[in-house]
């Protein structure tokens, strides 16, 4: 019983840590795509560890099943929302801030090799 308590305590502390780190990234990151990346930390590690810790506390019961449903909900809705958000951003012509645009460089190389023709 003491070991289970220690494990759930560690899970809840880790979940709290990743939740705060994720939202701190949400404030500190430079553009919307990197902010999405920071927010996904909350949806995966933060929520995952918190729910795992609470499920260990609840034991084998209906509460643990509901926590599992909640985890599955986050597991499926997080990527859906992030994908829709990224697509809406690109549709509005918000480009990611890049330190090095590899895609544009590769495109320029292909144009050079094909003698100026557009690929």
């Amino acid at each position: 019983m003491l070991i289970l308590d220690a494990v759930s305590w560690a899970c809840i502390v880790a979940g709290s840590f990743f939740t705060v780190v994720g939202t701190f990234g949400l404030v500190r990151m430079p553009d919307v795509f990197t902010r999405m990346h920071a927010a996904s930390v909350v949806d995966t590690l933060g929520v995952g560890f918190l729910i795992l810790g609470m499920a260990i506390q609840a034991g084998f019961s209906l509460v643990a099943l509901k926590l599992g449903f909640l985890l599955a909900l986050f597991f499926f809705t997080g990527p859906v929302v992030t994908h829709a958000l990224a697509q809406a951003c690109l549709h509005e012509n918000i480009q990611p801030v890049l330190s090095e645009d590899r895609r544009a460089r590769a495109r320029a190389e292909i144009i050079d090799e094909s003698g100026g023709r557009q690929p």
């Binding site: 919307v32 810790g53 509901k66 829709a84 958000l85 809406a88």
Partner: protein, 93 residues
Amino acid sequence: MFVAAAFAILVALALAITRAIKGPTVFDRVLAGNSVGTLAIMLLAVVGFLTGRPEFLDIGLTYGLLNLISTLAVLKFFRHGDLAYDADTERQL
């Protein structure tokens, strides 16, 4: 232990609301709103455990589904300017 988790989630909520107020584009605000929804669900679950009433999880599940639908609806509205946008119209353009 649950008090510490609740405190951490409250701090995270404050940071997410900071981004929602500051956010330069509407998409930053939508992202922050989605994070606020996620954190509210976790706060509901933690407070339910804190007060010994884990039945709050049902409200959390409902709120999670509502959060998904509202985020997608807001995104669709800002992409097309209309919630009743027809997908076939976009294909023809």
